[in-house]
């Protein structure tokens, strides 16, 4: 018999038997759900309700950062901080006064919103081979707000600390998976607050987030 043929007949069963044992020892390819997740994102926001009456423009000034820790396979809890600025300049704004007069003039307005919330998220599809992890979440906490209005050289500002709740839907698209995972985080968040100033009461907005997620 050809010696090479004898070698292959002996080697084949040895190799086949050795493969599974090798894979188990290496560890890195073994599935392990992530336990901690960080998100850093850019936000665009649309004011709605009475806040839309104060500033109609979409806000392109917003950031968010959150930290999430898994408490079970599908659920995480954590903290979120974000900042949104709604601002607008009006070349001519007409206002009716309580006495029946009419004020017409250029106006600049802004409103800052800085929430700090406790958050909880539920993840759908957390298997090892999923490249997309959709989730729904909910935040509750406090929000500091500062509003400012100026016409000519007359300015007025108000600030205060209020209550906020913010349900959220989103998904993480993982593009690096391993001991540390990196992905693209996309989310839409509805902010309901008790922020009230001038003619605004219970300021509300939608925020769309695009950011980077790190998980390990």
């Amino acid at each position: 018999m050809n010696p090479a043929r004898i070698l292959s007949v002996v080697a084949a069963p040895l190799l086949l038997a050795a493969w599974p044992a090798s894979a188990q020892d290496s560890g890195w390819s073994q599935y392990r759900p992530v336990s901690t997740l960080f998100n850093l994102g850019y936000q665009i926001s649309q004011p709605i309700g009475s806040l839309h009456g104060y500033v109609t423009d979409t806000s392109f000034r917003g950031i968010m950062f959150d930290w999430r820790s898994r408490v079970s396979k599908d659920i995480s809890v954590g903290l979120r901080f974000s900042w949104n600025r709604f601002s607008q300049s009006y070349s001519s704004l007409t206002t009716t006064t309580n006495s029946g007069g009419t004020l017409v003039g250029p106006v600049f307005r802004f409103m800052d919103q800085l929430p700090l919330e406790a958050i909880v998220h539920y993840y759908i599809g957390t298997g090892s081979d999923n490249t997309i992890t959709p989730y729904v979440g909910f935040g509750i906490g406090g929000v500091w707000s500062n509003s400012y209005q100026q016409t000519a050289d007359i300015a007025n500002s108000q600030n205060g600390f209020y209550f906020i709740v913010s349900p959220e839907v989103g998904a993480v698209i993982w593009f690096v998976k391993g001991a540390t995972n990196v992905g693209l985080n996309l989310a839409v968040t509805y902010h309901f607050t008790t922020i009230s100033f001038r003619n605004v009461s219970d300021a509300q907005s939608f925020a769309e987030t695009i950011g980077i997620a790190f998980a390990y």
Binding site: S87, S89, T97, G100, L103, V104, V107, F108, A152, N159
Partner: protein, 198 residues
Amino acid sequence: MDTRRWLLLAAIAAQGCGGYYAPDSVTFGTVIYTQAGPGVDFKPLRKLFIDPTADVFKDGTQQPSVAVPSSTVMLINSRMAAYGYTSVGTPDAADVGVRLTFFNNTVSYYYSYCSIYWSYYGCYPYWGYAGSYSTGSVAQQMLDLRTNPPPGGSRTVLWLSAAYAVKAGTSGDAVNNLNNGLNQIFDQSTFLKTSAVQ
């Protein structure tokens, strides 16, 4: 493709970085206030007397009256004529009288970074800035001259208007500012129309 991406990023950055301070068009803009007296009917009014002198207040203290610039008188005449008023030379022959008042003020300001908004970083030492500037406004009122006021009383004000931060005056550029402010006031006061133009 790269160029488009950079343009998009630049546009987002520009949007993200702006919006912190009021633009000059707001800071140096003029605010117009106009109000008709409660229940006043302007339709039967016809004859107008324009007071040739204006009251002046500087930083809250009354100054000697000044003559209203001729271009301003002409402006008031023409704008009120468009609403159906005819100018007369004496108050006795008029239904209504219009009088101007100038307010010139010096505003002092001080801004400190010692607040929660700046995280109190300017509280020690007390960082901030201070200064002063002058501003001016003009008020215009229309009085009812058809009936004499009761003893010790005053005439009824039919219309009150003002141009705030117009830096109005009786000489130089201040006259142009005054006339521009008055034009805006008349633009915003279409309720002054009498039945002569309707």
